[in-house]
Amino acid sequence: MSGHVHKDYTGAKFGMWLFLFTEILLFGGLFILYSVYLSRYPQEFISAGKELNVWFGGGNTLVLLTSSLFVAVSITALRRGAKRLCLGLLGGTIVCAVIFMVNKYFEWSAKIDHGIYPGSAHLKEMLPGEMVFFNIYYLTTGLHGIHVVIGALILAWTMALVKSDKVNANDWVILENAGLYWHLVDLIWIFIFPLYYLILH
């Protein structure tokens, strides 16, 4: 019987897309809360949004967009047999993920130094809408940060598979699915960035 050996690429990608859908719905809960509280406290969301640094957010947006480009090109590279180029691009993606997290670390530290973090005394003196804004900001970017780390780990694992030729020019669906996951991480950030950093406009 040869039942086990067959690889169903369409099926594998179908499953991955379904999984990405569940991720969107997971973040969807936070976006729903954001929209409800935005309609309740529009002024306070704007005044709190001014506290966020557009340069940090914008920089991280560029970093993530670049990383997504790397992943997309790495898939094409592998399919054309350029294994070393593929590995280099994947490495570049992981570097981008690290830059993103370091950036995030400095951004959060600055906020925390100013006494703005969930449950802090300073935060509790703010207006209700501002408290909500910062709480949901930390939750959303925190959950997204966890996804960046998971995505980077998945890409590192995929790199190991590419290196040992388990993922190769003829069998690359794992790389493609890992790439899809990374694009999702990127895509969610594309929504987070304007909602939190550009709201004052």
Binding site: M1, G3, H4, D8, T10, G11, A12, F14, G15, L18, F19, F21, T22, E23, L25, L26, F27, G28, G29, L30, I32, L33, V36, Y37, R40, Y41, P118, G119, K124, L127, P128, G129, E130, M131, V132, N135, I136, Y138, L139, L143
Partner: protein, 541 residues
């Protein structure tokens, strides 16, 4: 269709072909049947624990005042009863156990689309279950919030809600991955000739359920994650002193948990849809109507969550809209009931145990469904909200519906998996005892609820004593029936007579394999030439 092979006692099918020795051949197996049985026995175990807790609740309510436990213990016991029954029995019950056992064989596949992911789902289920049980004995004591985890109480109570929230998150993840696996399996692995309209109705029901699992479960994931964050780092998104709104928790909770009601009941409807035609010896009446109503329930059921919140302070307009939408869900449910009845009309009905359970599903689910409309209509709901009427209602739908379907599936399919038959007479007697106990127990609850007894109190005023004692006696009869039922089926599956081929006379694919089925189900890929209820073409009539 492959040749029917009569099972022999020496041929142990997949039981004889373990990849690893001993228990590892089970807990590391990617065979859908082994995973299905792992689920089944875990779920079976948790059902017994949950039922035992239910008996304790009834015992406490035998007389007013403290009978066998104090208020705090009572709160913990009913929370535990709810959490175990909902998250560890009813939600995974039919889809994870019987979905895994039956679905791939029904569509002519050798396994699910992602066997390793399937094993991972089971590990997540076990991890979540262990965490849920651990949360009872560690930290600040067992959670006392009820299974709904409503804020602000759940954010403030010192009991171990955080760990329980993690457990729910992990169980949800397991449910998502199972749903994803089934949807992909149905799309990709149907055998040659198994068109969409030749899928058995059980598969159709699981397919609809799987979509709900995929689309609704992430929302409970984020909800309990936010509850966890609120407790551990004080994010206060649901805390009014920090500008949050507790009602938003209820919205998010029910956006999942109402569709979850359909995760619970749709697979049960699928079981009944598969059993009724076989035991009526007639093709399913309105096959397409039944499958479309499955999809319609999955869709409409996702739009009605706020009917749990009529008394929570939502706007009058929202109450009317959600009340209206709730009534709409009754239509596809009724379509199913009418089609089942029409299937039986002029059929030659065989009252074997699976059919008895399927029939009690129809009866009890209809009663439960109609009393659900009392709750769905805002004007009457205001009067019976949070009374024992609600408890009676959802036990009729959940236990009388899904529970009975689970027992129907046990008596219908497990003999095929094990290759042995239970004693049908004992099963029938046990069914009768259960039904008597069931009706006494839950009808008393409904009546006492109409009289105004609130749910979730360990005490009550003396006027309610009579009906409460009646209910408790009913719970004992029900327990006797359950013990008899389980003892009989366990004896049958392990020591019963060898099964004759296709004992119920089904035209569906899962009965055409040898029993117990071999590891990859089919010796050669099957080619399907007729529908699952085409008894004439299958040569059964």
């Amino acid at each position: 269709m492959s040749e029917m092979t009569a099972p022999t006692t020496s041929d142990r099918g997949f039981f004889g072909e373990a990849k690893y020795p001993g228990i590892f051949g089970w807990i590391f197996s990617t065979d859908h049947k082994r995973i299905g049985l792992l689920y089944f026995w875990c779920i079976f175990f948790f059902f017994c624990v949950g039922a035992f807790l239910g008996l304790l609740i009834r015992l406490e309510l035998f007389a007013p005042g403290e009978t066998i436990m104090g208020a705090q213990t009572y709160n913990a016991v009913f929370t535990l009863h709810g959490v175990i029954m909902i998250f560890l029995f009813i939600i995974p019950g039919i889809p994870a156990a019987f979905g895994n056992l039956i679905l791939p064989i029904q569509i002519g596949a050798r396994d699910v689309a992602f066997p390793k992911l399937n094993l991972f789902s089971w590990w997540l289920y076990i991890t979540g279950a262990i965490l849920a049980v651990t949360s009872l004995f560690t930290g600040g004591g067992p959670p006392d919030t009820g299974w709904t985890f409503y804020v602000p109480f759940s954010a403030q109570t010192s009991t171990n809600v955080s760990l329980a929230a993690i457990a729910v998150f992990i169980l949800g993840f397991s449910s998502i991955l199972t749903g994803l696996n089934f949807v992909t399996t149905v799309h990709r692995l149907r055998a040659e000739g198994m068109g969409w309209f030749r899928l058995p109705l059980f598969t159709w029901a699981l397919y609809s359920t799987a979509w709900v699992q995929i689309l609704a479960t992430p929302v409970i994931g984020i909800t309990v994650a936010l509850l966890f964050a609120e407790r551990v780092i004080g994010t206060g998104l649901f805390d009014p002193t920090q500008g949050g709104d507790p009602i938003m928790f209820q919205h998010l909770f029910w956006i999942y948990s109402h569709p979850a009601v359909y995760i619970m009941v749709l697979p049960g409807m699928g079981v009944v849809s598969d059993i009724i035609p076989v035991f009526s010896r007639k093709p399913a009446f309105g096959y397409k109507a039944i499958l479309i109503s499955s999809l319609a329930i999955a869709f409409a059921g996702s739009l009605v969550w706020a009917h749990h919140m009529f008394t929570s302070g939502i706007s009058d307009l929202a109450v009317m809209v959600f009340s209206f939408l709730t009534f709409i869900v009754a239509i596809p449910s009724a379509i199913k009931v009418f089609n089942w009845l029409a299937t039986m009309y002029q059929g030659s009905i065989l009252l074997d145990p699976p059919m008895l359970f399927a029939l009690s599903f129809i009866l009890l689910f209809t009663i439960g469904g109609l009393t659900g409309l009392v709750l769905g209509s805002a004007a009457t709901d205001v009067h019976v909200h949070d009374t024992y009427f609600v408890v009676g209602h959802f036990h009729f739908v959940m236990f009388g519906g899904t529970g009975m379907a689970f027992f129907a599936a046990m008596h219908y399919w497990l003999p095929m998996i094990y290759g042995r038959m239970y004693d049908k007479t004992v099963a029938t007697v046990a069914w009768g005892v259960m039904m008597i106990g069931f009706l006494i127990l839950y009808i008393s609850m409904k009546v006492v609820g109409m009289q105004g007894m609130p749910r979730r109190y360990y005490d009550y005023v003396p006027e309610f004593t009579g009906l409460n004692q009646l209910a408790t006696v009913g719970s004992w009869i029900l327990a006797v029936g359950l013990v008899l039922l389980f003892a009989n089926i366990i004896r049958g599956l392990f020591w019963g007579d060898p099964l004759e081929a296709n004992p119920w006379g089904s035209a569906s694919l899962e009965w055409q394999v040898s029993s117990p089925p071999p590891t990859e189900n089919f010796d050669e890929d099957p080619v399907v030439t007729h529908g699952p209820y085409d008894f004439k073409q299958a040569g059964i009539l």
